[in-house]
Each structure stands twice: as C-alpha cells, then as structure tokens.
Symmetry: C2
Subunit: 150 residues, 2 copies
DNA sequence: ACATATTACTTTGATATCAAAGTATTTCAA
DNA sequence: TTGAAATACTTTGATATCAAAGTAATATGT
C-alpha cells in the first residue's frame, strides 16, 4: 500500500476523528451553559424525536452500546431528565420517557445543532457538503460490515 | 434554520461522530490482538514519524489535550513503549522517545492504518474521497476557529 | 538581580465509553 | 409443561478524555 493511506492528512480515519473532536469540543462549550453534558445531548436528540423506545433501541439510535446507555440513563434519571418504565407486556424491557424538564429544554437546545452545523459548513460548496455526507454514510456502512464479520 | 441541519442524516456533527465511532471500534478490534489500545496507537502514529518532541508538541500532533497526553504517556511508559527525557536546554520540557519495543511494532502495525482506510473507502469514487478529506479539513478549521473565539 | 509573567508539565475530579460477565424475563421445542 | 435458548438489561473493571487548578522552570522588564 502506498504511503497515501497512512499519511494523516489523507487518512479517512484520522480526519474523521479530528472532525469529530472539533465538533465535540465546541458542543461541550455550548452545552455547559445549560448544565448538559455531550452524552446527555446525544440521547436527548433521539428522545426529542421519539419517546418510549426500549433501552436497546435507544442505544442503537444514539450510537452507544447497551452498557453505555445504561450508565448514561442512570445519570439522566438522577438529573431529572428521563424516567424509565417497565413495559407491561414484556418485563425485560425498560421504556424511556422524557420528563417535563427535558421537554422544556428542546426549544432552547435543539437549535444548537443547526448552529454548529451551519458554522462547520461555512464557506463550503453545497455540492461538496452533500458528497461529505454520502461518503461518511458509505464509510460507516463499510466499517460496520467489517466489524460484524470479524 | 430549516430542519435539514438537525436531521441526523444531514447533520455533519452526527455523521462525523458516527464515522469516527465505526473507525474506532474496528481499530480496537485490530489492535487488541497486539495488546495495544487505541489511545496508544494515536500517539505511536505520531512518534513513528518523528521522535523527541516535547509533550506539548506531541499532544497537539496527536489531537489530545496536554493533560490527556500526560495520562497516555504515563501508561505507555509503564507499558515499555516510550521514555521521557528532560530537555537539557530547558528543564520544563519532557522530550518523548520510542523504546526498541515500540519501534519493532511499527512494521507490523503501521499497515493497519492503510488497511482500515482502504476498507472504509471501498466502493467510493476517488473524486468523492478527495472531497471528503477536503471538507473534513475545512470543517475542522471552521470549528477550531470558533472554539478559540469563545 | 529580582519580581512578575509565561511556559511546560502534572494532578485532580469528572464524564464517556466499551467488553465481558452476570441477572431477570420471555420464548420455544420436545 | 418444563428445561434450554434467546432476549433485555445491569454490573464490573478498564481505557479515553477533558477542564481547572497546581507546580516547576525559564524569560522578561526594570
């Protein structure tokens, strides 16, 4: 393999990590003013769209493992953001719901997502942004397929 | 702002996180066979290119904060991968060097970077891959500029 | 020279994350 | 119907990561 794929500037892994870290740090800077952590944010983003899913579904939608989701939800429950209710039809499932407090945060905080994305995208052609999303999506699919294989 | 920028599939933040996580998990799967952690890998990638930099320089090159770098290097030192030597000309600086053991790992492990990148890129047009890198680079610059502003 | 500012690293306390092993509940096949 | 398998969640122990405050060494202005 030519050096091109291990040179950091040309490494998709390196660049995706660098982009993510920059997003994550800026997100943290915004959320701390509202007393939220990044981890809570990722879960709230999902729950603001749809409440009442099982922890497993929520973990998948939030891109967390199930054990990470348990820990996150423990914290969010203590912070008064979510409530867990056992599914009456299946005692194994814990369905997750937002509290009134978490619902009130939505209009204040959801716009932050748009702001950060707009900021990141500034000065970049719309066509290139679309390509970025498509490539990211395909790379993830390729990598997840490899993860499951081996 | 239109919903387009908060819909996960169209959110650059969401997609960059998802891509990174997939890379990171697959990397972990590969490295564990060699007894290395992802954190050590990121630092080794830098040191395999250039030894003897100060911790601050190394932290910047590895995309870590200085305090994270300290913790990582403590572990790497215990694992016999690096040695720290005080700069004779400036007693504040700790210069970081690879041990023989870490140097021996390079030919075995460096190719992993190329393999994962090739795997991630499979089925994607070269032109689109180039766009991905350019967009990632620019986004990071935009975000870092915002971080520094406040 | 000496007090102050700057620089480089370290410590501390917190969140984020996972894999592996463990527990409780439901499903299913004989 | 009952025991094994599958499912859903939890616990445990580890790494990864950061911000803020702390320590040590050097540089700077007077």
């Amino acid at each position: 393999m030519a050096p091109s794929t291990s040179d950091p500037d040309r490494s998709y892994g390196y660049q995706s990590r660098a982009t993510h870290r920059a997003f994550d740090r800026l997100l943290q800077q915004h959320l701390r003013q509202h007393g939220l952590t990044n981890g809570y944010w990722y879960v709230l983003r999902v729950l603001w769209e749809e409440e009442g899913m099982s922890q497993r579904e929520l973990a998948r939608a939030s891109n967390l493992t199930e054990s990470s989701a348990v820990i996150m939800l423990d914290g969010m429950q203590r912070a008064g953001l979510v409530a867990r209710r056992k599914d009456p039809a299946d005692g194994r499932r814990q369905r997750v719901f937002l509290t009134a407090k978490a619902k009130r945060l939505k209009p204040k905080l959801l716009p932050v997502a748009g702001e950060l994305n707009a900021l990141a995208a500034s000065g970049i052609a719309a066509e290139d942004l679309a390509t970025y999303l498509a490539v990211a999506h395909r790379m993830r699919a390729n990598l997840v397929a490899a993860l499951e294989t081996g």
